[in-house]
């Protein structure tokens, strides 16, 4: 009965570490990374995870129930299950799921997430050949890594410039909407004097740069990563120019200060209160209920070197380790076919990545204008380290905005910290 303490501890350690390591190797890289669909009918069960893309939960469920019914009619041996997860904690859920070998077979991802999960994903090219004929080029690019499509585009949105007509009326500049950075800067003091912000800037470090800083970087003609992805490129003169532009806005008091550091509930912001002239970080759908439909004007993205904005693409991705890969691939292709995409997009207030499915919103002029900007969008470079880089860059941008560093210094420091990650 007298087992020495030491032995007990060693035994525990051995058992535990053994369990841990076998478990860790669970995420191996077996299986083809560009699977080819089989000719015959697929079979087996498929689990898909998605998120409240359609706000109305019942409507969202109904949409997928109908799709499943239709799909099962063609593939009677496939059992599809769609789970709608909360946005909150979605990376935790998915990451632990994959790590434990219990993730979904198909999952809704945005371009920002794709590189991070790429190792666990199978390319979908061969499954969606029937759909890609009229897929927008930028939508296809936004889901492609090394030439392979890691997600099947399902819906698409654009963040161009949206202006508040009432604010322009209030300062006697009706209809004089800005097209360039200079235009915006010229208007800024006039708005300030009348109690308006010329624009807004969400600078909190956990807000994605995709919608805040990167559009400016692209507009200036810069990019986040170098061509080959081995180093960052945001510290270029274009990048510094973009940061100087936002810093000038912040220092001039032309944007709401709280937004630079925190993320309040939207209706609490000056943006929602209509005390703002233009924004590239909210869509018309976000602001119309606050500004009034009649005041919400959709315009092309601002221009410095070029006019370009951020475009989100919601895609369905296929897990490499899906138990019934073929069934999952076929379901994915079915769920992202242009007709389904159009219906889903409309219910969600989005657009489709397919050029055949335009005019979703009939006579709605705002939505038509928004749809027209889809081609002038990008979702940026897909880089495996894009999130780490964002995590490094965002606080440096913030430091410049609150006057702690010069834009040059901030960019230099960020690049110095980010480059070793890429190497």
């Amino acid at each position: 009965m007298t087992m020495p303490k030491k032995h007990v501890v060693t035994a525990i350690a051995a058992i535990a570490s053994l369990g841990a390591l076998t478990a860790c190797s669970g995420g191996g890289t077996t299986g083809s990374s560009t699977p080819v669909p089989s000719d015959g009918a697929a079979s087996g069960s498929v689990t898909m995870w998605t998120y409240p893309v359609i706000a109305d939960e019942a409507a969202h469920k109904k949409f997928w129930d109908e799709q499943i019914a239709e799909f099962t009619a063609e593939n009677p041996d496939v059992d599809v299950k769609v789970e709608i997860y909360p946005w909150a904690g979605r990376d935790e859920t998915l990451a632990t799921g994959i790590a434990g070998g219990k993730g979904p077979d198909v999952v809704y991802l945005i371009p920002d997430q794709l590189p991070k999960y790429a190792k666990s994903l199978a390319a979908v090219d061969n499954y969606i050949t029937d759909n890609t004929g009229d897929l927008r080029e930028n939508a296809a690019k936004s889901v492609s890594i090394d030439g392979a499509m890691m997600g099947a585009p399902l819906i698409m949105n654009s963040k161009p410039l949206v202006c508040n007509a009432a604010a322009f009326d209030a300062i006697g500049e009706s209809g004089n909407y800005p097209a360039t950075w200079d235009d915006l800067m010229t208007l800024a003091p006039k708005f300030k004097d009348a109690g308006y912000d010329v624009t807004n800037y969400w600078g909190a470090v956990d807000a994605t740069l995709n919608e805040s800083f990167y559009p400016l970087l692209w507009q200036a003609g810069g990019s986040v990563f170098s061509e080959d992805g081995t180093e960052v490129a945001f510290d270029s003169p274009e990048g510094i120019e973009a940061l100087q532009f936002v810093t000038d806005l912040a220092e001039g008091g032309f944007v709401e200060k709280d937004l630079l550091t925190t993320i309040p509930a939207f209706e609490q912001t000056r943006t929602a209160q209509g005390k703002i002239a233009c924004t590239w970080q909210q869509g018309p759908g976000d602001v119309a209920s606050f500004w009034g439909e009649e005041n919400t004007v959709v315009l092309p993205s601002l221009k410095e070197a070029e006019s370009i904005g951020y475009g989100t693409v919601g895609s369905l991705a296929l897990m490499k380790k899906a138990e019934n890969l073929d069934a999952a691939g076929k379901w994915l292709a079915f769920a992202t076919r242009p007709e389904a995409s159009a219906e889903y997009a409309k219910a969600a207030g989005w657009f489709t990545p397919y050029t055949s499915q335009t005019g979703l919103y009939g006579d709605d002029a705002t939505m038509a204008a928004l749809e027209a900007t889809l081609d002038a969008t990008t979702s940026g470079d897909l880089n495996e380290k894009s999130r780490e880089v964002m995590g490094i860059l965002a606080p440096e941008i913030q430091a410049a905005l609150i006057g702690q560093k010069t834009p040059e210094q901030a960019m230099k420091d960020a690049a110095a910290a980010a480059n070793p990650l890429l190497g």
Partner: protein
């Protein structure tokens, strides 16, 4: 011991009772007179105390008040202080949160998660506490202290290994998979040990001499004596499970196994108006608050003794 021995420290003139020397009084007299000793507050002292306490209470309650009032307001910009005046109230936000179909399933799951965990944690920790307190066995100390050290391991480090383990043994999407890992509760074992250690050994010796089995001694003597600590510990474990979010979220792969916290989060769009966030918060807070009002004493003792908050 200077203050005790030296009457009337220089620079600190005596208080009301300072004129009498302590040696003049027998303990009895002193106790009798203690009602009027220098420790009792003057009227001014009492007023000051009420003012300070009330200020502190207002500061403490303010966020709760704001939560409830703002959750009842329409989704609009908050103007301080006008928005805190309880006018124009409505239940729109609550209707949206509660209108979801699964809310009762989630409520049931939360109850199962909380109640089953409470019962099992109490059972296992009482048994282990008894063993650690009153039985000598090899490896006892090592075992006990390694339990405690585990409290200091950051949660996010163990989360994934634990999940992987549960996934491999098929615990996902099951009640047992949700509950089992949360039963290893070091604080509970620790508290039970402390409590049982103070029980006199003679109690058990006597029962043993009467021929009672160990199990009988445990269930008939130890457990009944542990009632107060079981109650406090139980409320604490309940509270923790009730508020838990991340673990139920990753373990319940499907809406059927979600708890209230996860379910309410799933109803929220990315841009949720503040009133809906607060309505959701209020909804999950109300049962806890009701329980708190009913079992205040246990709540206070439970959280106090266990050392972490839920």
């Amino acid at each position: 011991m200077t203050t005790l021995a030296t009457p009337g420290t220089p620079g600190h003139p005596g208080t009301a009772a300072g004129t009498t020397s302590p040696t003049d009084l027998t303990p009895t007299v002193r106790r009798k007179r203690s009602k009027n000793s220098g420790m009792d507050l003057t009227l001014r002292g009492k007023i000051v105390r009420y003012v300070v306490l009330s200020l502190a209470a207002v500061v403490t309650i303010f966020p709760f008040y704001a939560m409830v009032v703002l959750s009842l307001k329409p989704a609009a910009a908050i103007q301080f202080p006008q928005s805190l005046i309880p006018t124009n109230l409505g239940f729109a936000a609550y209707e949206r949160v509660l209108g979801a179909g699964n809310i009762w399933t989630w409520f049931g799951n939360t109850l199962i998660y909380s109640v089953v965990s409470v019962v099992l944690v109490l059972a296992f920790s009482a048994m282990a506490g008894y063993a650690f307190a009153k039985k000598k066995f090899p490896g006892r100390e090592a075992m006990f202290w390694s339990f405690l050290a585990m409290v200091m391991v950051p949660y996010h480090v163990t989360l994934i290994p634990t999940f992987i383990l549960m996934a491999q043994v098929g615990g996902l999407d099951t009640y047992w998979g949700l509950i089992l890992p949360t039963l290893a509760n070091a604080q509970a074992v620790f508290l039970m040990r402390q409590f049982i250690m103070d029980m006199p050994d003679e109690l058990f010796e006597a029962a043993k001499l009467d021929g009672a089995s160990e199990w009988r001694i445990f269930t008939r003597i130890v457990l009944p004596l542990c009632k107060p600590i079981l109650a406090t510990l139980g409320t604490f474990v309940f509270l923790w499970h009730w508020n838990d979010f991340l673990w139920p979220l990753i373990m319940g792969q499907g809406t059927d196994h979600w708890t209230l916290t996860v379910g309410i989060a799933s109803l929220q769009q990315q841009d949720v108006p503040l009133n809906m966030i607060l309505a959701g918060a209020t909804i999950s807070f109300v049962p806890i608050f009701a329980a708190y009002l009913v079992a205040q004493r246990y709540f206070q003792e439970g959280v106090t003794m266990s050392g972490i908050k839920g």
